[in-house]
Every structure is written in C-alpha cells, then in structure tokens.
C-alpha cells in the first residue's frame, strides 16, 4: 500500500451538522406529508369519530416539522457566525469562482479526468445556495397558506402579500408543491455527488457531516478560507 500524507481540515461546526440532519429529517417528513395533503390517501370504512389516521394529524405533523425546520436555521446562522468552515455561500464576487466552477463542471461532465482539489467545491456551494432559495420559497409560500386562516393577524400581514404577488392563493399551493419536487430532485443529486466524491477521492466527504472534518492529500484551492489543517494521526 502507498503511504499517504493527508492533512485534516476542520470544516463544519456541530451547529451546521445538527442543522443538516434536522433538515434531512424535515424534508423527508414534509415531502411525504405534503404529498398526502395534496392527494389524501383513500381510507375505507371509517367513522368520523374514530378515525385513526386523519388528515388533521397529517397536517399537524407537516406544520410541526415546518416550524422545526425554520427553528433549526438558528443553529445554521450561529454556526455561520462562529465558524469559517460553515460559510458556504459561493464566492461569486471573486473572479476565480467562475473558472473553478467550469473546471469542476467539466470533470462532472466526464470531459476532464479530475478537478482541482477543494474543501468545498464551488459547484456544490452554488447548488446549496440554490437549495436555500428553494427552501425560502417553501417557507414563504407555506406561511402564506398557513397564516391566512386569519388574514388580519400578524402572520397574515407578514406573509399574505405572497398570495397577491403570485396572483392567487391556488397558485401559492402549486408553487409550494412544484418546488417541493425540485428539492427532492436536488436531494437525489446531492446524495449521489457526496457518495461519489467519497468513493472516488476518499476525502471523507460523507463522514464530514458527522465528524466535521475532511482529509485531503493535496492543498485545496480554498484552504485559505478555513482554519489551517492539522496532520493526520
């Protein structure tokens, strides 16, 4: 076996990691319950008084996880503040971002045998920014529907404009539904890209979301953005 000299980079704070797994759980639960809300399961031979699996429950679970998801952003923001490695927004204001993104994209399109080493590659970071946009749309449209039971209250005042902007509350439902599917498509791609990176480069891509660290042989191009590495034991 070849002796490898790898360095350990501490990237993700516990806050980001906990947030990530809350997000995973929330998205799965929200998607399943959301589909059930749009197209409720057909339940035969029931009595209203004794229904066990009721629509009310499905909706309440959806709402509870929606609030949990929103609340978990507190962890995300705290991690962002205290830890450099949590700051994942693509550096679109720096010129090298674009050439590096093209470099990574060329590799993913199988046109280049490899791409330059990154701790957090610019294409992935762009996709996370895209995910946050989708999540924001889900939050805005979701609360716009949720709070309009009482349009005059604070929630209706804060989010009611979304329905007007989209041209009708039915459209809000549709946007919420379509973007949910796009998030699932993102999730499939995300899980694949992480597992692929883990198997191909063995840099601890998948385990980094548990341990917070990655192991790199080469000096990554974005090393200056995080804390200096330590030597592997």
């Amino acid at each position: 076996m070849k002796e490898e000299k790898r360095k350990v980079y501490y990237l993700f704070s516990p806050f980001l990691r906990i947030f990530h797994w809350i997000m995973v759980l929330s998205i799965v639960v929200l998607f399943v319950t959301g589909i059930l809300i749009t197209k409720p399961a057909t339940i035969q031979a029931l009595e209203p008084t004794f229904t066990s699996m009721s629509m009310d429950w499905v909706r309440n679970i959806h709402f509870i996880f929606a609030f949990l998801f929103c609340a978990s952003f507190i962890l995300r923001i705290y991690g962002f503040i205290i830890n450099k490695g949590d700051r994942l927004f693509p550096r679109v204001w720096e010129g090298h971002f674009y050439s590096e993104t093209i470099d990574v994209a060329m590799h993913y399109m199988l046109l280049k045998p490899s791409h330059a080493p990154f701790l957090r590659n610019p294409l992935a970071r762009s996709s996370y920014a895209g995910l946050y946009v989708m999540v924001l749309i889900e939050i805005l449209t979701g609360f716009a529907m949720y709070y309009m039971t009482e349009p005059g209250n604070i929630g209706g005042t804060l989010f009611g404009w979304v329905n007007v902007l989209l041209g009708g509350e039915m459209v809000t439902h549709w946007v919420h539904h379509i973007v949910a599917w796009l998030i699932i498509v993102f999730a499939i791609g995300h899980v694949y890209m992480v597992l692929r990176a883990d198997l191909m480069e063995a840099e601890g891509e998948a385990s980094s979301m548990f341990s917070g660290v990655k192991f790199l042989e080469h000096v990554p191009k974005d090393a200056c953005e995080v804390e200096p590495p330590t030597n592997a034991k």
Binding site: T42, P48, G168, E169
Partner: protein
C-alpha cells in the same frame, strides 16, 4: 329630486310606525355584519341622512350579479332600491331608456358631484380603445371614468369589476381588466364573487349609504366582515376533511354521504367568502352543500386556475404535476446511476494512465 328624503321620511310617508323603523334598523345592522351596539348609530344615520344617490353601471359581464342582487332577502332588494337608496341610474333595472335617460345620468353626475355612490358591475374592456363594450354611443371605460370622477365611493360588484372575470380569462381577447385603473384615487370596495352573495351586495351598499364611509377592508380591498374567512374554515363539511373522509367521485358513496369534496378540486381552502356561514338564498344552501366543489369564484383569476375538479394542474388526462415530478426524480435517479458507472470507468482509465506514466518514468 331636490328635497331628498331620509329613510325615516320614507317610513313616515308610507305610514309605518317608529317601532317597525327601529326593527328595520336592527335588521340592517345585523345584515351589514356589525355588532348590536351599532344599532343606535344605524338608526341615527337612517333618520337624518338623506337617501344616498346611487349610480349603477354595467360593463363587460353577464349581469348575473344583478340576478343575485334581486334575490337578496334581508334587506329585500326591492326595499334597498326603492326605499333605502335613491337609485338614479341603472343600465339594467331602469324602465327608462334612450337619450333622455343618458341626459339624466349627466345631470345626476353634475348635481351630486362628490356625493353619489357608484356601483360598478362588469369588467373594463381596454383593447382597441374599449370598443368591445359600448353603451349610449360611448365606450364603457369612458362612462366609468366620467362617473368615477364625481363619486364619493365606488363599489366594484362581482369578480369582473374586481379583476376582470371571465372576459379576462386567458387569452383575454378584449383586454379586459378590473375597474381599478379607471377609478383614480376614489375609495373602492371590492365585492368579488361570480356572483357575490345577495346579502353581501345589499349589505355593502347599505354600509356605504348609512355611514358614508367604506367598510373596513382587507389587503385586497374586500370588506372584512364578508371576506375575512376561508370557506374551508367555515365549511360544515370541514370535519370530514380533518377526518380524512373524501368523496373520490361525483357519484360514489362518499359523495352521497356528504363527505369532503377536497379531492374533487374544491377551492374552499383558497377562497375567502361568506358562503360557509351566510350561505345563499336565506341560508338555503351553497355550492358545497349541494355537492359541488367550490370553484373559488371570488378569487381574482379563478377561470385560469383549472381544472376545477382537480387540486393540481393537469396536462393530459393522466399527467399532472406529481406525475412530472415523479418522472423527473426517476430520470435523475437513472442519470445518477449512469453517471456513476461512467465515473468508475473514467477513474480506472485515469489510474491506468498515471501508472503507465509512472512506469515509463522509472524505466
């Protein structure tokens, strides 16, 4: 026309008692959606204020709103028109017609400038200078602008006047829209619905007539007392929704048993109206009660939000958003597997190339 009567004067002229006047005021207060402590205010206004002049014009529409209006039971539409407001001009209900009648409109607009209530039914047709909707030799938009300029307040009756209605549905060949662009800075009360509930129509005009101000409005300009709740949240079938009991077809057991119509495309969860609590025609029924899912007729663009018997947009009988979403996810999954296989091949090639290079370097 010079000496304008108050509602109390009308009661006196008809020889009706003070007692029945006060009873009428109490009924009116309830119909306007106000609490009972406002009865005194209503009685005072009805006693002292001269009957408000109302000009009622019709644009691009089917006049179904008037069909609804004349079915108002409390207050009776005939009472409103004959005893509670001074209806000076109405395209549809007037017996008079022709040039003298049009001249009368101009006279009314001049004489009661800034005092009359303008009720508008129907959309404003804007394409080709509005020639697709004309009356008395002028376009409706011309009449609308003229009448709106001198109005104290404007009531937009029906979804057409509020947001264009069926004329404005895609592809909107006549360029129809709501009347808002033509009313300037005048206060407008939006009373959407296709048609609005009769008692909502009479209730709103009585509110403006008696108090001289528009009722409290929500962010879309609708009176809060009538459009403050979703039909879904006031629907008597809501318990079936919460229990997960749905009619799957228009002719199945659930439909016959009166279960929730959500899966048949009911728009109750998106629609703000009083159908659930006031119902129609003296509380007789409303669409959901008669087994038809709500089509959301008080929503701005409900004609374009079909199919009305489905919750999701439908692209063909078998394809909706969920089909496309699942298809997209499946394609992504297949693509991922293909990409993984190609990546493995690529990596093997790369390692082979590196080893060949290393090998040639060592030799």
């Amino acid at each position: 026309m010079d000496k304008r009567e108050s509602m109390w004067d009308v009661y006196l002229r008809k020889g009706m008692s003070r007692r029945s006047f006060l009873k009428g005021c109490a009924a009116l207060t309830a119909m306007m959606g106000l609490s009972s402590d406002k009865v005194a205010k209503v009685a005072e206004a009805a006693e002292k204020k001269p009957l408000p002049v109302v000009v009622w014009i019709h644009g691009h529409e089917c006049t179904g709103c008037d069909e609804s209006f004349i079915r108002s039971a409390a207050p009776l539409a005939s009472d409103v028109v004959l005893n509670e407001v001074a209806l000076e001009y109405d395209h549809l209900l007037s017996a008079a017609s022709g040039a003298p009648f049009e001249a009368h409109l101009d006279e009314v607009i001049q004489k009661y400038k800034g005092q009359y209530i303008l009720a508008v039914e129907g959309a404003a047709c804007t394409k080709d200078n509005g020639v697709y909707c004309m009356s008395g030799g002028h376009t409706f938009t011309h009449l609308l602008q003229k009448a709106a300029a001198g109005a104290a307040a404007i009531i937009a009756y029906g979804t057409c006047a509020v947001s264009g209605g069926i004329q404005a549905a895609s592809p909107n060949p006549t360029g129809s829209s709501g009347i808002a662009h033509f009313t300037g800075s005048k206060p407008v009360v939006n009373v959407p619905g296709c048609p609005p509930i009769p008692e909502v129509m009479t209730g709103v005009v009585m509110h403006v007539a008696l108090f001289g101000t528009v009722p409290p409005l929500d962010s879309e300009g609708r009176p809060r007392q009538f459009y403050g709740n979703r039909i879904h949240d006031t629907c008597y079938r809501r318990p079936f929704f919460d229990a997960g009991m749905f009619a799957e077809n228009f002719d199945d057991e659930g439909s016959k048993a009166g279960w929730c119509l959500y899966k048949l495309g009911c728009r109750g969860p998106e629609t703000y109206n009083s159908c659930g609590n006031m119902r129609w025609f003296q509380g007789m029924s409303y669409p959901i009660q008669s087994g038809a899912p709500c089509i959301g007729c008080s929503n701005a663009h409900f004609w374009d939000e079909g199919p009305m018997s489905r919750r999701l947009p439908q692209f063909s009988p078998a394809v909706d958003v969920d089909t496309i979403g699942a298809g997209l996810a499946a394609v992504t999954a297949v693509g991922v597997v293909g990409h993984a296989a190609a990546s493995v091949v690529q990596k093997k090639k790369r390692i082979a190339a590196e080893q060949a290079e290393k090998g040639s370097g060592e030799e």
